[in-house]
Every structure is written in structure tokens, then in C-alpha cells.
């Protein structure tokens, strides 16, 4: 299978790899996927009190397209409000990275990771607990 140049670029030069320090405040963490499925994404978002995503980190276990999808979303979400980030659709990731049909699940996972990280942040902030809980 041939990879698109964008996927190769993100795989070879992943953006924002790593984790924020454990005690760092204002960080929401989303871990989605499972090892036996071959994909696990951990996405961390640093969010200001005003609800703006100021920084992001990821770590991903998965194929090249999964790594590229998560690297790509760390760039995509920066500077966005929570509402804007919550509205990011996997189809945008598919289009921007030219993912083939068999790799669409990678983009779904990346979308889920954004939502999981934001919900985790909301939960930790104590705001909108009902919504956060319903997304567990």
C-alpha cells in the first residue's frame, strides 16, 4: 500500500510527540483504542481557563496512518475553542491526509481522542459533569 506524502511526513517527523508533566494543571488526557485492536492513541490537550486549546501532545501505538492522524490533530486543535475542537470530524482528517478506506478507523480514533481529552479536562474542572460522565 502506498502512503500519501502527508502521512509519510507526519510519520517521519511527528509533531508534538510526548506527554505533559503529571502534575501539570489544565491538561485533559484521552486514551482511546485497545492494544489487541492494534491501535491506541493518547492525546493530551492543555486548555486555558477561557476554553482555548493552547498546546497538545500525543503518543500512539498503531500503524503509520494512526501515528500520522494523531500527529496531524495535535496541530489542528491548537488555538481552537473547545466547541470548535469538538466539531472536528474524522472526514476532515481522511481528506487532509488522503487516507485510503482501510485506514478510516485511524481518523475515527483521532476524532474520538480529541473528544475524550476535552471531556477529561471538563471532568477535572468540574464543569458540565453530566456531559463528561455520559461520555465515559
Amino acid at each position: 500500500m502506498a502512503y500519501s506524502n502527508k502521512v509519510i511526513d507526519h510519520y517521519e517527523n511527528p509533531r508534538n510527540v510526548g506527554s505533559f508533566a503529571k502534575d501539570e494543571e489544565n491538561v485533559g488526557t484521552g486514551v482511546v483504542g485497545a492494544p489487541e485492536c492494534g491501535d491506541v492513541m493518547k492525546l493530551q490537550l492543555k486548555i486555558t481557563d477561557e476554553g482555548i486549546i493552547e498546546d497538545a501532545r500525543f503518543k500512539t501505538f498503531g500503524c503509520g496512518s494512526a501515528i500520522a492522524s494523531s500527529s496531524y490533530v495535535t496541530e489542528l486543535v491548537k488555538g481552537k475553542s473547545l466547541d470548535e475542537a469538538m466539531n472536528i470530524k474524522n472526514t476532515q482528517i481522511v481528506e487532509d491526509l488522503s487516507l485510503p478506506p482501510v485506514k478510516i478507523h485511524c481518523s475515527v480514533l483521532a476524532e474520538d481522542a480529541i473528544k475524550a481529552a476535552i471531556n477529561d479536562w471538563k471532568k477535572r474542572k468540574g464543569s458540565d459533569p453530566a456531559k463528561a460522565a455520559s461520555n465515559e
Binding site: 492494544p35 489487541e36 485492536c37 492494534g38 501515528i67
Partner: protein, 405 residues
């Protein structure tokens, strides 16, 4: 390294130049139809085929007339299994095989089940990939007509004890077929002492051409009969009609001759390089696991799980090294290797497996280069892996509450 390193010799092998040299005249000067009995062109082609039949038979201790040429091992598996099921249907309809067989055997068996032509028992394997002989014995019924167990597994290299299996088949009066595609030419095969009645083989795994294989069909003690799959001119003792692929057959024959002559030295060289590869990887990386049998395995095969690193992402990083992965993402099915699953390897580890297939044209320098590249990429990807981070923090990945899609 200025060029790509090819270390996927279980998929296919480059053709040996000596094989190509033997084949060339049969494309141009000696182009005749081996079935043309009344002129020089036909006789020359027939002589080439006869010589190849002898070379192949010698490698596996068969008689030349017991070699039936086919298009490759998949056709041989189909012809052997379906041919027996059809010909012996009055006698019984039960087939015994194993979960780790090649798809050419498994899907042939499934096709027979689907059409109601056979009932099939798929034997489980142990953690090394071998069937339990008592299990095999117990599975035999008075309807069993065929046992089909491969010689060496194409993914994990595990070698099955064919001699013992052949003995059980003989005791019970059952035909024994073996898909020996990966074993022939690499490790000794003796159809007589192993009690093999039908055996699939192919040219392109032993530095011969693609598109040419054979089915060994025992002619005596017992004489095995097959219903042909194709109707036509009655070539190959009526078992496989169709004009013979003379050049391919000549190449397959030459490949067998070379494999026989060089088997001992080549196997020793493969084992040495495999140990070099294994030692290099295992010394420099933690959390790596060998899949398959530690001793009873093909000389050129090494199958390793690199925990916390997904196989396809590793392959993508190894741009100038050709190896293969047992991971889901390399196939359209999204299921990890059914062979590793049958061994009881967890799916999380199956997703991280890489198959290295050493061959005749690999060198120790290439092995060193592959070690260096793999170690580098595994470390890079582990730095990116949430699983590696969690494992190092002491989090139990098995009991973690994963969010599944």
C-alpha cells in the same frame, strides 16, 4: 547499504542465475511442446522435462513419474485435497488438518465443507505451533480419508514431525498429504521414510521461477488416485491436463538440483545468520519475544514480537529493508495473524510481530545492517508508544480499562 535489503524469502526468492541459464534455451531454441511425440522439437522439450522430473524426484526421494507438474503450491494443495475427497468419496469424507496451515489448504478444506463434500477437523497446535500426535490419533474416524499437515510453517517456521504423522497415517490406512512448500530444498525430505503420499511444492521458494510447482503422488504402497480438476489432454498421467510449462519446469528442476547439492552448507549458513540476527536484536532491545519453536524451525526463519510497537508502523520505518508483518494492518481483514493466534500469542503481541526470512543471497553484513535499522526504529516508535510508557510506569495493560471502538 546502497540498495534495499531483501529479507522476505518466505514470500518468494530471487531466481538463482544458474537456474535462469538452464531455462533460457527452452524459451527460444528448444521451444517445443513436450507432448509433441513426432518431431525433434517435441523430443527436446520432453527431454528437458524428463531431466527436471528426475532432479525434483531425487531431492525428495521419489520416483520421477510420481512428480505431477502444476502451476504452483496452491494448485498442488487444491489438486491433492479436492482430488482425494472426490476420488475416495465412497470410502469416507473426513479430513484432518491443522489451524496453522497455509490458506491454500485451509480454504480448500472450507470449500469442501461448504459444498458438503467433506467434514474437516482443524487440529489445534501448542505454543510452538506443533500438533499433538495423540490429538491427531484421537481425531481419526472410520470416515477419515486424508490427513494434511504442512512440513514447515510459512510464518513461524515451525517444523512438524512428518515421520511420526506419516506413521499414524499408515497405521490407520489414511492418505497423508503435506504442503512442503517452505521445507523442500531447505531441510531434508524423504517421502518414503516420512510416509508421505501426496506433497505440494513450488519452484519460486527455492530460487526457481514462479508459476511452476508440483504435486508428488505416491505410485506404490499405496497407489494414490486423484480426480483431476481440469479436463483436457490427459497430461501428467491424467491428473493435470494442460501443455507443460517447459522452461519453468526446467528451472524448477535445476533449482531442486542446486538446493540438494548445497543444502547442508546453506542451512548451516542460514542458522548462523539467524543466530546473529536474533542475538543482535535480543541483546539490544527489551521486551522482544520469539514466535515459533526454538529448535524445530526452518533455518532461515525468525519471527519476533517487538512489544508496544505495531508491526506495520515498524515496516514503514524500515524503508530499505523488506520483511513482513503478522499485523492486521498489512492485510485487508484487520485481523492479526491467525497462525500466531493459534499458538496462543495474545492479539496485542500478534500486532507487533515481524517475520524475517533469510535466504541464499543474504550476507552477514546485511544482517548487521538490519539489526541496526530495526533497533533504531523500535526505539524511535517506543518513544512514541503510549503502551511502552504505561508499561514502564508499571501500569498493567491487561487490566487497564480500554475504550474500544
Amino acid at each position: 547499504m546502497s540498495r534495499m535489503v531483501y529479507m522476505d524469502n518466505h514470500a518468494t526468492t530471487p531466481m538463482d542465475p544458474r537456474v535462469l541459464e538452464a531455462m533460457l534455451p527452452f524459451f527460444t531454441d528448444k521451444f517445443g511442446n513436450a507432448a509433441s511425440r513426432n518431431h525433434q522439437f517435441g523430443w527436446e522439450a520432453e527431454a528437458g522435462v524428463d531431466h527436471a522430473r528426475e532432479q525434483i524426484a531425487r531431492l525428495v526421494n521419489a520416483k520421477p513419474k510420481e512428480i505431477i507438474f502444476t502451476s504452483g503450491a496452491t494448485e498442488s494443495d487444491n489438486l491433492g485435497i479436492k482430488g482425494v475427497a472426490e476420488f475416495y468419496k465412497e470410502k469416507g469424507n473426513h479430513i484432518i488438518t491443522a489451524l496453522t496451515e497455509h490458506k491454500a489448504v485451509l480454504d480448500t478444506c472450507r470449500a469442501l465443507e461448504r459444498t458438503g463434500k467433506a467434514q474437516v477437523t482443524y487440529l489445534p497446535v501448542d505454543t510452538y505451533g506443533q500438533v499433538d500426535l495423540d490429538d491427531l490419533r484421537r481425531s481419526v474416524t472410520d470416515k477419515t480419508i486424508l490427513i494434511s499437515i504442512m512440513y514447515a510453517n510459512n510464518e513461524i517456521g515451525t517444523i512438524h514431525p512428518l515421520r511420526e504423522i506419516g506413521k499414524i497415517a499408515k497405521e490407520k490406512g489414511i492418505i497423508f498429504h503435506s504442503d512442503a512448500t517452505q521445507g523442500v530444498g531447505k531441510i531434508p525430505v524423504d517421502v518414503d521414510s516420512m510416509g508421505i503420499d501426496l506433497m505440494s511444492m513450488t519452484g519460486h521458494k527455492i530460487y526457481g521461477p514462479k508459476g511452476c510447482g508440483a504435486l508428488y503422488v505416491r505410485s506404490k504402497g499405496p497407489r494414490v488416485r486423484l480426480a483431476p480438476m481440469m479436463d483436457g489432454g490427459g497430461h501428467e498421467r491424467g491428473m493435470r491436463s494442460g501443455t507443460l510449462n517447459v522452461a519453468g519446469i526446467v528451472g524448477f528442476g535445476k533449482a531442486c538440483e542446486l538446493a540438494g547439492l548445497e543444502m547442508e552448507t546453506e542451512a548451516a549458513r542460514m542458522i548462523q545468520m539467524r543466530e546473529q540476527l536474533q542475538t543482535g536484536l535480543f541483546h539490544q532491545l527489551d521486551d522482544v519475544y520469539l514466535n515459533g519453536h526454538p529448535q524445530q524451525r526452518l533455518p532461515g526463519n525468525l519471527n519476533v514480537s517487538f512489544a508496544y510497537v505495531e508491526g506495520e508502523s515498524l515496516l514503514m520505518g524500515l524503508k530499505d529493508v523488506a520483511v513482513s508483518s503478522g499485523s492486521a494492518c498489512t492485510s485487508a481483514t484487520l485481523e492479526p495473524s491467525y497462525v500466531l493466534k493459534a499458538l496462543g500469542v495474545g492479539e496485542e503481541l500478534a500486532h507487533t510481530s515481524i517475520r524475517f526470512g533469510l535466504g541464499r543471497f543474504n550476507t552477514p553484513e546485511e544482517v548487521d545492517y538490519v539489526i541496526e535499522r530495526v533497533v533504531h526504529e523500535v526505539r524511535r516508535l517506543r518513544d512514541m508508544s503510549p503502551l511502552y510508557e504505561m508499561a514502564k510506569e508499571g501500569i498493567d495493560l491487561k487490566s487497564f480499562n480500554w475504550v474500544r471502538e
